[in-house]
Each structure stands twice: as structure tokens, then as C-alpha cells.
């Protein structure tokens, strides 16, 4: 069994090499596709609860990995709610209470708008190459497309998902499917992406599906990207705490 595994790993590594990419190259390419100097996204999140489904529309402004601002547009109860991330701090503003509240500690583990994503998921958007050590586990064909299977293990402490396994499309260089694990090896979340389109010279998905494996009977959350612009100029004042109340 071990021999077979070693063979598969070596073979995959050779394949990886044969296509002119090392494991590091693959991760960097993934990071390049998913991250940008700045981006403005209009999206809707369809949360499939155990009983109801809800659609939440939002607009995000993101600069690098340290600054992000989100404004929720609908439904009416959520409209006007804003969120600001600066470095490792996250604030939320709700017009009903007119309060700016910092989300910290265990609150970061709470779900964002009832979705399968937590605030921690939103916070951890540093490039994968800075956070994980990667190993290629093999190759596989999914829906007729070639994918690498890559195991990522945390090289920094305190990550929500110390281990993750990604199925990376060899052409798009995107993790089409990911399984996110706890340190114990327990599956915590899965994510998939589809509707890959070329946007400003990079491949980018138009839909992500997240599923919290700890939620019983979870039907997952769809995050549909309706519009995305990369490397646009975003005024600095958007990322001020005062902008939350405007």
C-alpha cells in the first residue's frame, strides 16, 4: 500500500514537473488567480438553511489582504449593514442599533449572515503560500478535466483549518474543490467552485459553494459573483471606521 502511495506521489510530482510547474508554482498561480492588488465585487449569497433559503446581496471593496469593506444591499433587514476589516480586526455596523461592534474572540467563529462561512473564513485571506506547506498527492480526472490533488498543511499556528486538501484544475489553476480539516483530521468544511471565466486575464469562478460539515443536514451556501473588477482604484476613506456609519 505504501509503495503504491509513494509511486502515486512520485508519479504526480513527475507529472507536475513535466508540465513545468513545481508545487510552489501551482500555489503561487492559485494565489495570483484568487488575489489581486484590489478588487470590487458585487455578489449575492444564497444561504440554503434547513428550512428556508435566503438571498443576501452585497458589495465588497478589497485592497490587498489587509483592507476590506462590505456593504449589504438586501434583504431589507440586512440592508445598510456594513463590515470593515483592517489587518486582523473586524468591525460591523448595523443601522438598527447604530452601533459599531468589533467582532473578536469566539464571535469570529460565528456564521456570516447565517451562511456556511464564518468571520474567520473572511479574515484568513493571506496567500496560501505564506500559510501552508504543500504536497502533491496525485492526479485525477473530474468531469473530463485534469486535476492535481494537493495536501496543504499549516506552517503557521492559529489557522482555522490546519489541514486542507485541494483538487486543482490544471488549466485554470484554481482549487475547484477543497476539503478543510481541523488539526485532528476532522472534516470541517467543503468548498467547490464553478462557472470559471476569464476576467482581466485571470481565471476566476463565478460561483462558490461552501458547506459546513459540522452543521447537520447543511445544504450549503452559494456565493455567486455577479460582477468583479480587479486592480481598480479604491479611495482610502472607504476603509475608515467612520465610513461604517455613513
Amino acid at each position: 500500500m505504501n509503495k503504491i502511495l509513494i509511486f502515486i506521489l512520485s508519479y504526480s510530482f513527475v507529472i507536475g514537473q513535466s508540465e513545468g510547474m513545481t508545487v510552489q508554482d501551482i500555489i503561487k498561480a492559485m494565489d495570483n488567480n484568487l488575489n489581486a492588488k484590489s478588487r470590487v465585487i458585487t455578489s449575492k449569497m444564497v444561504v440554503h438553511g434547513r428550512r428556508f433559503s435566503r438571498t443576501i446581496e452585497s458589495r465588497n471593496w478589497v485592497v490587498g489582504i489587509n483592507q476590506a469593506f462590505t456593504e449589504y444591499l438586501s434583504p431589507p433587514r440586512e440592508a445598510g449593514t456594513k463590515m470593515l476589516k483592517l489587518d486582523d480586526k473586524l468591525w460591523t455596523y448595523s443601522p438598527q442599533t447604530d452601533r459599531v461592534i468589533q467582532i473578536s474572540g469566539h464571535m469570529l467563529r460565528q456564521s456570516v449572515m447565517g451562511s456556511d462561512m464564518s468571520y474567520n473564513d473572511m479574515m484568513e485571506d493571506r496567500p496560501l503560500i505564506e500559510l501552508y506547506e504543500a504536497t502533491l498527492e496525485g492526479s485525477v480526472k473530474i468531469d473530463g478535466r485534469d486535476h492535481w490533488i494537493m495536501l496543504l498543511e499549516a506552517k503557521v499556528k492559529g489557522l482555522s483549518y490546519p489541514k486542507r486538501r485541494a483538487w486543482i484544475d490544471k488549466e485554470y489553476l484554481l482549487p475547484m474543490k477543497e476539503e478543510l480539516y481541523a488539526k485532528s483530521g476532522k472534516l470541517l468544511k467543503t468548498s467547490t467552485m464553478d462557472g470559471i471565466k476569464k476576467v482581466q486575464g485571470r481565471w476566476f469562478p463565478s460561483r462558490f459553494i461552501f458547506k459546513d460539515a459540522l452543521k447537520r443536514n447543511s445544504k450549503g451556501t452559494e456565493w455567486v459573483i455577479e460582477d468583479i473588477q480587479f486592480d481598480v482604484e479604491i479611495p482610502e476613506h472607504i476603509f475608515l471606521k467612520a465610513a461604517l456609519r455613513k
Binding site: Q96, R99, I101, M107, S111
Partner: protein, 427 residues
Amino acid sequence: MIKFLTKGILRDRSRSLFPVIVVTLTVAMIVLFQGFLTGIMNSMFLNSAVVSTGHVKIMTKAYHEENQLLPNDLALLDTEKLVQELNREHTDYFWTPRITFGGLLDVPDENGETQAQGPVYALGIDFLSPDSRQIEIWKLERRLVTGKLPENAKEVLLGAKLAGRLGLSCGETVTLIGSTMYNAFTTYNFTVVGTFKLNLGPVDRHMMLVDISGARQALDMENAASEILGYTNSLYYEDQAAVAMRTEYNINHNDSTDIFSPIMMALRDANQMGTMVDFSNAAMAIMLVIFLVIVMIVLWNMGLMNGLRRYGEIGMRLAIGESKGQVYRSMIVESVIIGFIGTVIGTAMGLGITYYMQEVGLDYSAAMESLSSTDIIMSNVFYAQITPELYFIGFIPGVLATVLGTMMAGRAIYKREMAQLFKELET
């Protein structure tokens, strides 16, 4: 005959005083013990019923399976209609919707920044409906430490300890940070209008009470509720009736395909309450039997001593022509009278002490403070309770034990030899 015997008992104090004292003390102890146990049990059942279990309660099957997590996304919907139906079908109960939720309370400073924050266990209770009995069963007017009762959806009461910990006083605004019924993050402002002290051990530490309309607004739960609680109109928990109703309801509403179909639970189904109900019933029965046996043995022994003391009197009565049966029966009637007198005095005495314990109670606050479990809700002060059965419960051991004791001791009458009587009387 009875008049004659009563005169005899009253005139010959040595014949009646000791048995009456024994019966009085025993009956008083039984009445007090029973009253105290009933008080503790009823208070525990009522406290549990008021805070969490109801005498019966209804929730969805899915909510029931995960109830420890307070999963309001699995709450009952269209509760107004459900409550109306329940009120119509079960008139001996009153029904009320309840939302149970957790979260964080955030106290702002003058700039709206977080000044203090702490976890909160909150209950959305129907305080404001015109026919609601919730203020009454929560005894909130008595338990209010400062401030006043909520008058609208935005007003809340905080446990005195929680308010103290967060440095809050009446009139201040707090922000609830929690999750809506759709699991969305929510913040909602409430005004603290009062603080309360339930004296219910660990439950008090993090508790916030709000009208259900406020909870519904905060958690986006329009016409929904975590549970619907039912209480008997008398507020006495009747286990058999509650269990029968629960069984019937669950048979009628059984739908294995729908995880959101309602399911009814009786108080005994919650936590370890079933064990407590059984313990309460068994303890009372065992206590009565033990007292009966002890008193009977004491009175039997007393009857024997009495028989010795009244050896001459009984001999004389037999000698002048009374039959053994007549003597035996007269002694039993005598014992009934003694038992009756002792029981009446004992019941009065027991009721007096029970009444005192009902009003004053025994304060166990220090012991309760060290409890960390919130599964069983117990009062910090134990009160006795006078119930109708206390007026007659003493008659069973009081009269029965006296009669049985006399019957056993009186057997000696039949052992007397008639031929020996005059000889004995001569000496």
C-alpha cells in the same frame, strides 16, 4: 359508651396523656415532613416549569433533538394559531409561546464603543398580552430588585448579578449580539428597566428577560417561537394527567416524514425531572409507612405497659361480668378516641409549623451558589407548602397505629383465666 370512655380518658390522665403526646408528636412530624417535602418538590417542579420545561411543552421534533444548542432555526412557526388551538382543546391548561436564545450583551460607552461585554442567556416571554399569567408565575413583582417591569418590546430585565457584572443600571441601553432565526448575525438595542433576583442558583447568573415581541424583533422570528409551554390552571403539576396528554398529543400529531412537526414533552421528560417526580412520590409513600410502623410499635409497647398498669381494672371488669370481647372492644374504642385527639392536636401543631415554614422558608443560598449545573432548577430558599391533604394525612398513622398497637397489646385480655380472677383480686 363513647361518652363514658371519653370521660374515663379525660379523668385518668395517666391513661391518656402519654399516648396522646406520642400520637401528637408523630402526627405533627408527619404533617411537617409531608408539607416540607411537598413544598420543596412543588417549588422545584414549578421553578423548572416556569423557567424551562412548562408542565408540558411543545416544540418541533428537530428542535427537540438539538434543544441543548437552542436551535431557533428549527423553531415552531405560526404559533398564534397553535396557541389558539391548544387553548381550545386543553382548557385546563394555559399556553404561552417562549423564545430561548443566547448571545452577548454589549454595553456601549458615551462614544458608542464597547465598554463591557458578557454572555447572556435570554428568554422571550409573553409578558405583555392582556391575559398573560407570566408575570404572576414568575413572581416578578416580588423578585424585582430595582426598576420596573417591561412595558414594551424594547425593555428588558436583567439578572441582578449580570447587571452588576456589566456595570449596568436602569435606563441604560445594551446591545444584544446574537443570531437570528436564519442564523444571521444580529444586533439589537434594548433598554434595561429593572433587575431581578430569581434565587434559582446558577440560572440567575446570565439571565435576561424580555417580552416575546422584543425577542421576535431581535431574532427575526415573527409569529415563531422556540417552544409553547403549557401550565395547569392551578399551577400544580399532575404527572399522570400530563403524561396522558403528552402521549395522546404525540399520537395525534405523529408525522415521521416531517422533522418540523410538533412534539409534546411532559415535565417529567425534561432533564432528570422524571426521576425527581418518581422520587417525590416514592419518598412520601415510604415516609408514611415508616412512621406508621414506628408509631405502631411505640403504641403497642405502651399498650402492653398500660395493660400491666390496668391489670387490676381489667380483671375487675371481667370479674363483674363483662365479656373479654366487650373489654377488648372498649379498649379499641378508647384507642380510637386517643388517636383522634392526638391526631387533631398533632395536625394543628404540624400545620402551624408548616405554615411558618411556608412563610419564612429555609435559606440554602450558600449551598446553591456552589452548584454549577443548570439542569435542575432549584430555589435557594426551601419553603414548606400547606396542601389540602395535610389536613387528613395524619389520621391514617395517628388513629390506625393507635388502634393496631392497642389491638396487639389487648390480646393479653384473652389470656386471663377467669378462675384466677378472684384469687388475684383478693391479693
